[in-house]
């Protein structure tokens, strides 16, 4: 339902979105994942109609809504809703007023509006704040107002820019489930920007991993984990993401040969769960320095410095972890990426 072709955007300081093509079917939930500044918000703004592409086209279904340098259907005609990264609440209105206004614009009758506003605020857990002004509520509450405002009119295309970033973990789970429910109910094609891996993994039908304005990989979520298309994706996706260990001439770090790596050079993907830690040297182990230990999913994530690089390992909770550890690399790696960034 959304088809992007060779989309490029340049604010005059060099392209920030470069030649992106992708398409998703109606009702899809596309998650954009990528490092800060990679162009996620820019793509969302172009989809919304707030920014005209420099080149390339955007189609909503059969409808060409933007074409670089030629056409850009204005935002108010696209029927899309957007949760702004900056909330963009209307400071002169109350919380309820913010949610209500789009419904008014849509020409809804007052009772229906009242119902929807109440429902949306309820869903976001901010019903008791309805009469407050936007300066009189907390950051997370503001973010929920922004979300409620976008959702209340049920737009056919929903765009989310880090909509849950300022919520606590528990609430985030709640909201995520609400969003999933709404998506299932309305079938609105959605594009969702997030930095939260869990959100990406659970909500997405498709994920686009972006890097410096380019798509690194476009795939269903699980595939990203299982078959990352590049070193960048491997290093970026997953909780924790995979370690990338340099291999030179068949040897880890160019110094610790492993038979099954024979002749290989590049960045080997080594998942955290494939590393082992011991408190005393073992055959083939490398000395490591413990940096931090994080309890997660009943295990411990241990980050240690090995050969000047940070590696993360998963160990059972309660493992003895002295300051100086020894790390055992696996015999081999399923994937070895060529070294160096393909897009310098």
């Amino acid at each position: 339902m959304i088809a992007i072709d060779r989309l490029t955007k340049d604010y005059g300081t060099g392209p920030v979105v470069r030649d992106i093509s992708l398409s998703v079917r109606p009702g899809a939930f596309l998650v954009l994942l990528g490092p800060s500044g990679c162009g996620k918000s820019t793509i969302l703004r172009m989809l919304a109609g707030l920014e005209a592409p420099t080149a390339g086209t955007i189609r909503f279904g059969d409808r060409l809504v933007a074409q670089g340098g030629a056409l850009s259907l204005p935002a108010e005609k696209r029927g899309a809703g957007l949760v702004f990264q900056s909330y963009a609440l209307w400071p002169h209105m109350t919380v309820a007023g913010n949610v209500d206004w789009p419904l008014k614009v849509a020409g809804m009758a007052a009772p229906e509006r009242r119902r929807r506003v109440g429902e949306a605020l309820e869903m976001m857990g901010i019903a008791e704040l309805a009469g407050r002004h936007t300066g009189e509520i907390s950051g997370g509450q503001q973010q929920r107002v922004a979300l409620a405002r976008m959702i209340a009119p049920r737009p056919p295309v929903m765009l989310f820019d880090e909509p849950l970033s300022n919520l606590d973990a528990a609430l985030r789970v709640e909201m995520r489930h609400e969003l999933a429910r709404i998506h299932a109910e309305t079938g609105a094609t959605s594009v969702y920007v997030t930095h939260d891996q869990v959100e990406a993994m659970t909500l997405a039908t498709d994920v686009a991993v972006l890097n410096r304005g380019r798509i690194e990989q476009f795939a269903p979520p699980m595939q990203l984990l299982d078959q990352p298309a590049s070193a960048f994706v491997a290093r970026f996706v997953g909780t924790p993401p995979a370690n990338l260990v340099p291999v030179r001439d068949g040897a880890w770090f160019g110094r610790h040969p492993a038979p099954q790596l024979a002749g290989r050079t590049g960045l080997a993907m080594v998942r955290a769960e494939d590393l082992r830690l011991t408190d005393s040297p073992a055959p083939g182990s490398l000395p490591a320095e413990r940096i931090e230990v994080i309890p997660m999913a009943g295990q411990w994530l241990v980050t240690a410095r090995v050969e000047g690089q940070r590696l993360t390992a998963v160990v059972p909770r309660g493992t003895a972890l002295p300051d100086r550890l020894h790390i055992l690399l696996p015999d081999s790696s399923p994937t070895i990426f060529p070294e160096g960034d393909p897009h310098p």
Binding site: L50, E76, G79, A88, W90, P91, H92, W101, G135, Q142
Partner: protein, 561 residues
């Protein structure tokens, strides 16, 4: 081709600007073409005295007034809006008033202190204490500058206060967190964040100063200081109007250049989006021990620039003799019946059969023009703060700024010529209040546009974008989102326009009809026959209306969260 954003709106704004401002300007320009006035003014043995020296003085006064007004007006705005100074509301009203006080009253206030014996008559208080002020203190640039600043800091105050009132608290708090002392925060963060308002205020103060006639005529002439406005007035008065118009055009060119440079230097690429879509709390800075000293300083300035002149003006409407303002007060000039032994049989102003009608018409005109100018002003402000379109945006900017610099009489005449007779299906407007309204709207545009633009520039882009996402049309967004957020600026703009209209004489004089008497014409009539007290009394009435309008504006602003 994608049409540039806001192209439609820009064109919509340009049409009235061209009709109301560019056309009269061109018609004035047309009168000077082919006339010897250009060479007389620019390159003759006369040009030094006729043009360059007055231009120099004018620029000194304009820039000096702009800077002085910025300092005082900016200080007041900060004090009243951003701090917990005592009596903030009172100070807020007092600091708005000077703009409404006629220059001659402010000049009178200065004179009553520093006047020396150069022009005979009675001398000032200092002379009474045995200190005869030197000429540079009593006459010329310095006192003129003082009078102008004393009046026009109110412009900066009004514009900047409106902008500060909608400043997000957290940016100021961030500055406080850095440990900066208050003055540093004021000068380093608070004022720069409202640069568009400062620029707007300074531009208005500049334009008002360079086009002010009364102050340099009263304070400058005795030492033969001429400005472009005194020259311009004189040239028109002695029948050499072309030269006057050339001077006016010269003034416009120089001012436009300054405005352009100022815009580029001060605004540039920077953003002034201080009304953001993340809710932030309003914030008042604690002054601590400085509270009362600062309050007293402000009060002192208000006394000198506001209460003093008002007192003198009121006295001048009560005292029979201009040389003894504080003796023999009588209400005769206000309410007295005709008495052949008093004021040549002139009855008090409240017995003037036209006063009520004039009052009603003046108010009506003021309100109507304020509404019209503010609507046009806010649209122009949107154009000016939106994405730039080559040439067009700058045209809007300049056209909406320069009416203040056009001589009112020429402006009025041009309106008669252009719209008096009507053309095609358009009926002739001459003699109708509509023509008066149009001309006054044009003349008041700078106030509306500059104030509007200062606050519109503060609204973060995403706030309007969020409204666009809902599918709301431009007019709808304008009414529901932009206008409420810019309301303080718009109210301030409406107030300035109203006051300007109520006090205007130059344009009104040429366009009024006896059916539409206005107060300023009544006042002028009294003055032209030497009934100065009656004229003053009417001026006091105008002032009272302006003060009432200010109070109303304060109320309106106060209602907003």
């Amino acid at each position: 081709m994608i049409l540039p954003k806001r192209l439609g709106l820009t064109l919509v704004v340009l049409v009235p600007l061209i009709l109301l401002v560019a056309a009269p300007l061109l018609s004035i320009l047309g009168q000077t073409l082919g006339s010897a006035a250009w060479s007389d003014v620019l390159v003759s043995r006369l040009s030094r005295n006729l043009t360059w020296e007055p231009l120099g003085n004018t620029m000194i006064l304009g820039l000096g007034t702009a800077i002085g007004s910025l300092l005082i007006g900016g200080f007041f705005a900060w004090l009243v809006v951003m701090t917990d100074v005592p009596l903030a509301r009172t100070l807020g009203v007092l600091a708005t008033l000077p703009f409404m006080i006629p220059s001659f009253a402010t000049a009178l206030a200065w004179s009553s202190l520093f006047r020396n014996s150069r022009t005979g008559g009675s001398t000032g208080m200092l002379a009474g204490l045995g200190f005869d002020s030197p000429d540079w203190l009593a006459w010329g640039l310095l006192p003129t500058l003082f009078v102008l600043i004393a009046q026009y800091y109110a412009l900066v105050f009004t514009v900047v206060a409106a902008a500060l009132a909608s400043l997000n608290g957290d940016a100021v708090e961030a500055a406080e967190m850095s440990g900066a002392p208050r003055r540093r925060i004021l000068l380093g963060i608070v004022l720069p964040m409202v640069t568009p308002a400062l620029l707007a205020g300074a531009s208005l103060a500049f334009a008002a100063a360079v086009s002010n006639f009364a102050a340099p005529a009263l304070m400058g002439l005795p030492v033969r200081m001429q400005t472009l406005s005194t020259r311009l007035f004189g040239m028109i008065e002695i029948g050499q109007a072309e030269r006057g118009y050339v001077l006016a055009i010269l003034l416009i060119l120089v001012s436009a250049a300054l405005l352009g440079v100022g815009n580029r230097l001060l605004v540039g690429r920077r953003s002034f989006a201080t009304i953001s879509g993340k809710g932030a709390r309003r914030h008042r800075m604690k002054l601590g021990r400085a509270r009362w000293p600062l309050c007293c300083t402000a009060m002192a300035i208000c006394f000198v620039t506001t209460l003093g002149p008002i007192l003198l003006l009121v006295a001048a409407s009560l005292a029979p003799q201009g040389s003894a303002l504080f003796s023999d007060w009588t209400l005769q000039f206000w309410t007295g019946a005709a008495d052949p032994d008093f004021a040549r049989g002139q009855a008090g102003i409240f017995r003037n059969p036209q006063i009520v009608k004039a009052l009603v018409i003046t108010l009506g005109l003021g309100v109507a023009v304020a509404v019209a100018a503010v609507i046009l002003g806010v649209l122009a402000a949107l154009v000016l703060t939106g994405p730039r379109i080559r040439v067009l945006t700058e045209t809007v900017n300049q056209l909406s700024f320069l009416p203040m610099l056009l001589p009112g009489i020429a402006f009025g005449a041009a309106f008669i010529v252009l719209y008096g007779a009507g053309f095609g299906p358009v009926p002739g407007l001459y003699g109708t209040p509509l023509l008066l309204g149009l001309a006054l709207t044009a003349a008041s545009l700078p106030f509306a546009v500059q104030t509007g633009r200062a606050t519109v520039a503060q609204i973060a882009g995403d706030i309007d974008e969020a409204a666009r996402m809902t599918g709301a049309s431009f007019p709808r967004r304008l009414v529901a989102i932009t206008l409420p957020l810019a309301s303080r600026g718009l109210i301030a703009g409406a107030l300035l326009v109203f006051v300007n209209v109520v006090g205007d004489l130059a344009i009104v004089a040429l366009l009024y009809t006896p059916d539409t008497p206005v107060l300023s014409v009544l006042s002028y009539r009294y003055a032209s026959d030497g009934f100065q007290q009656f004229a003053n009394a009417i001026t006091v009435v105008i002032l009272a209306i302006s003060v009432a309008a200010t109070a109303l504006a304060q109320l309106l602003k106060g209602r907003r969260p």
